[in-house]
Symmetry: C2
Subunit: 193 residues, 2 copies
DNA sequence: ACCTGAACACCGTTCAAGT
DNA sequence: ACCTGAACACCGTTCAAGT
């Protein structure tokens, strides 16, 4: 609105915010650096100072997505009371709800960008995975989850949730079956279907 | 190599073939209609006669992917002998192997293009889903899979396989754990982990 | 019926130059 | 240290015109 100082001062955060909104509302294809620069009121070359290229911005965006999903799952678990079954269900529901709210962002988070390189996982991804890992360990201690390598069980649980998210957001599973899918998945892991 | 007649005669199939190879070798970002036209030796506007736009070509490509994945899973099941556990394991392995061979294609198949519309599922997708559905029903009849709505179990199985594929191809799960993940998933469904 | 060539409106990326 | 403006090499899409 009002004209800005030459040095924006906040450009990196503004770009990420605009990118997140555009991704949610228009999808990845319509997300362009030039359009983000326009929305921020800077020249099309300005983002270069903060993100080496389009991919770097998308990577940063994916990392904020991991952090937010991890926070949401942690909050859901804490709000679910002491029962591990309920915690599992709450965490799974939070995951799938995130997918419905921010499908393209979740796609971005699991886009195969670093498959060739064993690059260090991002901070946000670590936060998500440890949130699920902690839940697994507590579930095993409480006897609500089968014993075995918690790392493997954690990967399988994340895979299941991610798969449900993909099926639902892609329309390959009917939207009204979302709840049933989550229930069935939790039942499968707690072995009381 | 030699110069072609004015009417290519085979352009649609040639474009799809080139697109599939480019997708596998270079990824979705590097797949452009103009480059495909160049490879086919036609003008950049020629593809328009066969695909309304880039998305239409990608949709057709996704459909061939579904058909091929369905065929591979069917073949894996048939080659696995009469034991339903072995059939499940073979089908799951075929799915994940497809993901490793053609990750970007699998991504495309589950990209959320038609999430807003209850469009008729493609022929290829139907073939894949019925292959899995048949396996589920047989498994339930043999007592190797838990009872209940086979449709729901089918969705959950596809979700689990797709989630494992996503984790592995994105590098979020270590590649050397792929086999263990598939084993654990099958064990979870057959309830003998 | 199928393809070409020019045109339009966009991109990402680079780089000298400005403040 | 951060941003601008011009430039380059690409896109997808459209449309009159060719065969």
């Amino acid at each position: 609105m009002a004209d800005r100082p030459y040095h924006h001062g906040n450009l990196r955060a503004v770009l990420l915010d605009a990118a997140e909104r555009t991704l949610r509302e228009q999808g990845l294809d319509r997300l362009s650096l030039r359009e983000l620069a326009r929305q921020a009121g800077v020249s099309h070359a300005a983002p270069r100072r903060h993100f080496a290229d389009r991919r770097a911005l998308l990577d940063a965006l994916a990392d904020t997505g991991f952090a937010r999903l991890g926070d949401r799952m942690r909050a859901a678990i804490e709000g679910a009371g002491p029962d591990v079954d309920a915690q599992l269900h709450a965490a799974a529901t939070a995951y799938v709800r995130f997918a419905i709210d921010d499908g393209p962002l979740l796609d971005l988070m699991f886009a195969n960008k670093n498959a060739d390189e064993a690059a260090a996982p991002s901070e946000g991804a670590l936060r998500l995975f440890t949130a699920v890992g902690d839940l697994i360990v507590r579930g095993q201690q409480a006897g609500a989850l089968p014993p075995g390598d918690p790392e493997r069980l954690r990967l399988l649980l994340v895979a299941t949730l991610q798969g449900i998210a993909t099926l639902v957001t892609s329309g390959r599973a009917p939207a009204e079956q979302t709840g049933a899918l989550v229930e069935d998945a939790v039942a499968l892991f707690t072995r009381r279907s």
